[in-house]
Symmetry: C2
Subunit: 299 residues, 2 copies
């Protein structure tokens, strides 16, 4: 593996992220019902939240793993899976932001779904995005991918992480609990995105195993970096209430190990992620840069 | 078709409903994580709501259609689909009962999920049941069934019906709107349950088409009868707040056409449902009795 690179050297990656983002947006445009379709309110909400400026990290993971394992950029089935994981991520954010959960008024600089619409519609809009994601996944025709993603989302994955996240608020938590929350709430869907891209391209055995480990490491790093940024950024640069984790007594990395140790832990995780995909050689370039991109945000 | 029968003659059906109910409960017991599995709170909620005394109408529809089309009672794949549609129904009830939706404190004589636990856990528990249902459906391995059920649940089905139901509260609505709400909120999942059972047994073409029509007619009848019972029953016999539809200004059949016309409409729908499955002959006995069972509740 080479030396860690500077943001300026990530130009190729930025171009890749832009291409995936555009292709994902086109696919979402195609699979989401038009706003005018009856009943219009929920379709407006689904589109409002789906096009609210997300970075499309999970679609990038699907497509980069798909290509690394021999798939062709922009294949319809990979794009549909990319759109599905993004809808599932959006579903989780909408419900997470609800008054009974994190009670957040802003997300990516825009009012959250229940603020822009209302609570009932936000509950149902999240539900509908989750259901539509499975409908889109069914149209891809791969049982293994549906199973992979459903397992990563359930109480043994994302939802489990959300439960412990909510229940840990204001509690004194240990490092193992923070790791559980982040491994499940954040890393599970990122890992499933990577594995789904790989499965679509026909990957199996050790390739899948190494990519799973990469997914866990990158997913955890992503959340550690997010926690650090929440504590050190301003609301303006973050697009959501900065320092709100602290205010809510959330279980974060800085709260259990401090900012400096959180930074070195993120570096460590990225180094592990790089080692996981060394076997891919040049074919792993984008996955390598995606991991580096996460690190650069706190360097 | 014979004459409509009395409740006392539905003994065979009652025995069938009991068998399906027991088999569905066994399957739910098997697929739902144990209460002790971490994080326990959500698994407690999922089990609390799944075993809250539901009549298992949708599992009966799956199994009766499966058998009518040549399947064998109790086959594992049919039981899994039966458990999945019941989990999806439970998911919809949990979210429907939330304070921001129908704000119901009791369901089937027991405190609703957000009352017995809390709102955040009720949102996440509903989500988790929806996700687990798709995980269980994936384990059955039938893309067509996953697609059938996801389509019936989304904004062109159950969720769409819930949106219009909520938005019609306190409004003066016409018969077409009530029909839209009930066809989507209630009939869509009932129809999908019947079609899924039939698909599993290898049904296609006209058989599926007739069973779809049966599903729509029975599904609508079920809701018309529910609306009538809500207006004429006492809280004690109903297990939930009787007359609460009226109090909330819900769009119901009695509210647009009156009790008597609602009753004759239900009779008409059941007669249509019977005609839809006449082609099945004796193999359609249980489906016929299921339709009759719905009618008898208001006779």
């Amino acid at each position: 593996m080479g030396e860690m690179v500077e943001m300026s050297e990530l130009g190729e990656l930025m171009e890749y992220v832009k291409r995936v983002s555009d292709a994902t947006n086109d696919t979402l445009e195609r699979v989401l019902p038009a706003e005018a379709v009856y009943p219009p309110s929920i379709h407006k909400l689904m589109r409002y939240s789906s096009f609210a400026g997300g970075k499309r990290v999970r679609p990038c993971m699907v497509m980069a793993a798909y290509e690394a394992c021999g798939g062709k950029f922009g294949d319809d089935k990979a794009l549909k899976v990319a759109a599905a994981v993004e809808m599932l991520h959006t579903f989780s954010l909408i419900h997470d932001d609800l008054p009974c959960m994190d009670d957040d008024d802003f997300r990516r600089g825009k009012p959250t779904a229940h603020k822009a619409f209302n609570e009932a519609l936000a509950v149902l809009g999240g539900d509908a995005l989750c259901i539509l994601a499975f409908e889109v996944l069914a149209s891809v025709g791969r049982i293994d991918v549906i199973s992979e993603i459903a397992t990563a989302l359930g109480t043994g994955g994302m939802i489990g992480g959300q439960v412990v996240d909510i229940e840990s608020e204001g509690q004194k938590v240990d490092r193992a609990t923070v790791e559980y929350i982040h491994m499940n709430k954040t890393a599970a869907l990122i890992r499933a995105s990577i594995r789904s891209g790989a499965l679509l391209a026909g990957a199996a055995g050790d390739v899948l195993k190494n990519l799973s480990s990469y997914g866990n490491n990158v997913g955890l790093a992503f959340q550690v970096v997010d926690d650090i940024l929440d504590e050190v950024s301003t609301t303006e640069t973050l697009g959501k209430d900065a320092g709100s984790d602290l205010e809510k007594g959330k279980a974060t990395w800085p709260s259990v190990v401090g900012i400096e140790k959180s930074k070195s832990y993120a570096q460590e995780l990225i180094a592990k992620a790089w080692a996981d995909i060394e076997f891919l050689g040049n074919k792993g370039k984008i996955l390598k840069d995606l991991a580096e991109y996460i690190r650069v945000r706190i360097s």
